[in-house]
């Protein structure tokens, strides 16, 4: 029927669910399902990416295991979702990176950090590497600003190109029957839905993680992680503007905008990933997509490392540890960037696009 076994299973479940519909009020997946009577690969990948894994439909389902109908929507869609990342990855040969993602991410991170450390050590003498540098331009004594910009700019641009190409394939595949371009209203709706994690809420009851009580706090940890990441990104962007527009060089004093943004973001990037990791460890095995364990943990670890090395760099930037820490931090950020199109990072983009599509469908349904 479908290209993969998991899509066959997702199709079977959506057929069961579409003849029941009790979960209609829990999230976006089921109303989107009800707009269809049959499910293409694209439809199923769309539904899989709409699912936020709140677990409510599993706990509420009268047909979940041990029932013979064996309905486990969160887990099935989680596996389908992970497989969809590989299916749409660009360029095709790199889609294999999703298969053993934890390994790929950790090797990339380790190599990247090692190269920065070695690079710093080879290009600078010991005095510079372990020296105490303060004042504007201190970081650039270890690595010239232009080299940093060239390297990270290239990594960033590549990540964007690969992401755009992958997401374009996904968007085309989930395009039927609506097709066409996304309208501003739908995009705005999707920004709101994603920004508040509207569908990570069990329809209002809360989310399930460890068992049959809605005690899950992944929404909070995800907010900390996501907004922490955005704040760190904002810190870097502001610093870049300072550098080029105002001619002010890093490091900046603690009260200055890039440092304030980075500190707040860094705290989020440390606390959030710890919470998400703990929740994953405690997750009910019935809900857990164990195949993606490496990918999920790899991404959480990269965000945590980025936050941690950044914060250490801030605290110890006026000591001899600054050189090695800068290397570690740059290594972590570099690894994070280049693995963006081939790791868990993509979940945010795919889910956002699915939310845009869902908003479009709702508007078109309301209009007809």
């Amino acid at each position: 029927m479908h290209g993969t076994r998991i899509l066959d299973e997702a199709d079977r479940l959506m057929t069961v669910c579409n003849s029941c519909r009790y979960c209609e009020g829990l999230c976006a997946v089921f109303p989107a399902m009800e707009m269809r009577r049959a499910f293409s690969d694209g439809d199923l990948n769309y539904l899989a990416n709409l699912c936020h894994s709140c677990g409510a439909c599993y706990v509420d389902c009268q047909f979940s295991p041990p029932h013979e109908f064996n309905v486990n929507v969160p887990k099935t869609l989680a596996v389908a979702r992970a497989e969809s990342y590989a299916a749409y990855a660009w360029p095709r040969p790199l889609s294999g990176a999703f298969a053993r993602n934890g390994l790929v991410i950790s090797i990339t991170a380790a190599l990247s950090m090692a190269v920065f450390i070695l690079g710093f050590a080879v290009l600078n003498d010991r005095g510079v590497l372990f020296g105490v540098h303060t004042g504007p331009g201190a970081f650039y004594k270890l690595m010239p600003h232009n080299a940093m910009v060239a390297l990270f700019g290239a990594a960033f641009l590549y990540a964007i190109l690969a992401l755009v190409m992958s997401v374009r394939a996904f968007w085309r595949d989930i395009g039927t029957p609506i097709g066409g371009r996304a309208d501003g209203g739908s995009i705005f709706q999707a920004i709101r839905d994603a920004g508040e994690l509207r569908y990570l809420h069990g329809g209002g009851v809360g989310c399930y993680n460890e068992g049959d009580k809605p005690t899950d706090r992944r929404k909070l940890y995800h907010h900390l992680t996501f907004y922490g990441f955005l704040l760190c990104f904002a810190a870097t962007s502001v610093a870049t503007l300072y550098h080029y527009l105002l001619g002010r060089e890093a490091p900046y004093p603690w009260w200055d905008l890039p440092v304030v943004l980075g500190t707040l973001g860094g705290i989020g990037l440390i606390v959030g990933p710890i919470g998400l990791f703990t929740a994953k460890m405690r997750r009910d095995p019935a809900l857990l997509d164990e195949y993606s364990y490496g990918m999920d943990v790899g991404f959480i670890a990269m965000l945590f490392l980025t936050g941690l090395t950044g914060m250490l760099l801030l605290v110890l930037r006026e000591t001899g540890a600054m050189g090695p820490l800068l290397a570690l931090h740059l290594g972590a950020v570099f690894a994070l960037f280049i693995t963006v199109p081939y790791g868990k990072f993509v979940h945010g983009i795919y889910r956002f696009m699915a939310l845009v599509r869902y908003a479009q469908e709702r508007r078109s349904e309301a209009g007809s």
């Binding site: 209609e24 009020g25 109303p31 209002g204």
Partner: protein
């Protein structure tokens, strides 16, 4: 050895949990004995999705008012007057407050589900369905300190002179095989999953019934109570039965095996003969009659036959329709006599008069000159592929029960109220539902009488 509670609740569905919560809130110590394992807890409640409650104004989830009088008239119509007016009116009055009370117990409402717009004014739907509703009630009960035991089958009730003394257990709980309590609430459902018992009234035909709920609804508590002097109410052959897919599992297929495509085609029995007017009435009134109609046919099997033009006119189904490019091919797949089926469809097609089809109203598409007629929505079956769903009777619940009064107190044979025994839910639904059904009534009976039974049981225990 035995331990003693103020209130013992036997059963684990909506009625049982409402009783347990209401008794606990009334200050009683409460133990709930659910015979099923935890996953299958709650009897038929796990398959429900809404409740019919009277209300004087539209709410966030209800599209308009549904007065007590209108509810009463609906009940009168579906039961053909076979109801206890005092009890029924009392239940309807109490149902108004249940809309809020049940929310206070953690249950959440949502607007009517897709495909059920006709219930949007009268029925309140549970967010996430019946199992979500149950989960909320269990969480609340446990938070309040109600003790709950699963796999806790009661094998005997010790009743003396209309007075409950103790319940005996199949499996000891904390080393004890007997539970004593000051009051008993029996909320253990009907006997729909007890095929042997069904056979007493239906004969061998009951072997061909499919049971829509769990295999644990065996009616053993009902039987014990009736055997020990509690007054019986209701016709034992009456039950809620709908036509469900013959490919459904024997038990617990729930809502998803139902078919509502009868109006879009014809229904034939194993001899390929039509046997009832497929266009008699609108959903949901027609919904509850087809189970009994199929039960009366040979081998308790029938086939809904339609053509490819109507496939998208009804909700998608769990099991796909069986298809044939010709009537004969379809008949072959259904193991029906091809000649007989072709003759039935040819005669039906010839009898269809022109009209304007509208399945949302009683339209003017009728047949002429055949018996039985199809009095609405009659259209020719002529565009291949030809399609069919095999259907069997799906038994939801039975109506035989224990007689109760307005306090949900059981009445003994001779009419004397029991000192300390109360009943709620399906086990006493026959007091209100002599026959027939209107969507969501089972849950109304469960919540209203459960709440009353718990309150009265706690009151008795305090005195």
């Amino acid at each position: 050895m035995s331990s003693k509670y103020d209130v013992l609740v036997i059963g684990g569905g909506n009625a049982a949990l409402c009783a347990a919560i209401s008794a606990r809130r009334g200050g009683a110590s409460v133990l709930v004995l659910e015979a099923a394992p935890k996953f299958y807890r709650g009897g038929n409640t796990r398959h429900t999705r809404n409740m019919r409650c009277a209300h004087d104004a539209a709410t966030e989830i209800l599209t308009g008012p549904y007065t007590e009088e209108e509810f009463w008239e609906d009940l009168l119509r579906v039961t053909g007057g076979q109801t206890d007016e005092v009890l029924a009116r009392h239940m309807i009055r109490e149902s108004k407050d249940i809309l809020n009370w049940i929310v206070e117990q953690g249950v959440r409402w949502q607007p009517s589900l897709g495909g059920t717009l006709s219930l949007g004014r009268t029925n309140s739907f549970f967010l996430g369905g019946g199992r979500a509703m149950l989960n909320a009630l269990y969480l609340t009960a446990e938070r309040l300190g109600v003790a709950v035991e699963y796999d806790a089958e009661v094998t005997d009730l010790v009743i003396e002179d209309g007075m409950f003394l103790a319940a005996r257990l199949k499996r000891p709980i904390k080393g004890e095989t007997e539970i004593r309590a000051t009051s008993l609430v029996a909320a253990a459902g009907g006997f729909e999953a007890n095929i042997e018992w069904l056979k007493q009234y239906w004969g061998e035909a009951a072997d061909n019934f499919l049971i829509r709920g769990t295999p644990y609804n065996r009616g053993s508590i009902l039987k014990m109570l009736l055997d020990k002097g509690v007054q019986e109410v209701g016709d034992p052959t009456q039950c809620h039965a709908v036509a469900i897919d013959a490919r459904a599992p024997k038990f617990d297929g729930g809502i998803i095996t139902r078919h509502d495509s009868v109006v879009f085609g014809i229904v034939v029995n194993k001899h390929a003969q039509r046997f009832y007017d497929e266009g008699e009435d609108l959903w949901p009134k027609r919904y509850a009659i087809w189970g009994r109609l199929v039960a009366a046919q040979p081998d308790q099997i029938a086939y809904i036959i339609f053509d490819s033009t109507v496939v998208t006119s009804f909700m998608p189904t769990l099991f796909p329709p069986i298809a044939g490019q010709t009537i004969a091919e379809l008949a072959g797949k259904l193991a029906l006599d091809p000649v007989a089926l072709e003759k039935t469809i040819t005669e039906f097609n010839a009898a269809v008069r022109p009209g304007t089809f509208d399945h949302t109203i009683l339209d003017d598409c009728v047949t002429e000159g055949i018996t039985p007629p199809k009095t609405h929505w009659a259209r020719r079956i002529e565009t291949p592929p030809f399609l069919a769903y095999p259907v069997r009777p799906g038994i939801t619940f039975t109506y035989l029960g224990t007689r109760v009064n307005k306090e949900a107190r059981m009445l003994m044979k001779g009419g004397k109220p029991s000192a300390n025994m109360f009943a709620a839910g399906e086990i006493m639904a026959g007091n209100v539902l002599g026959k027939g059904y209107a969507a969501g009534m089972g849950m109304t009976i469960g919540s209203v009488f459960g709440r009353i039974a718990g309150r009265e049981a706690a009151k008795h225990a305090r005195n």
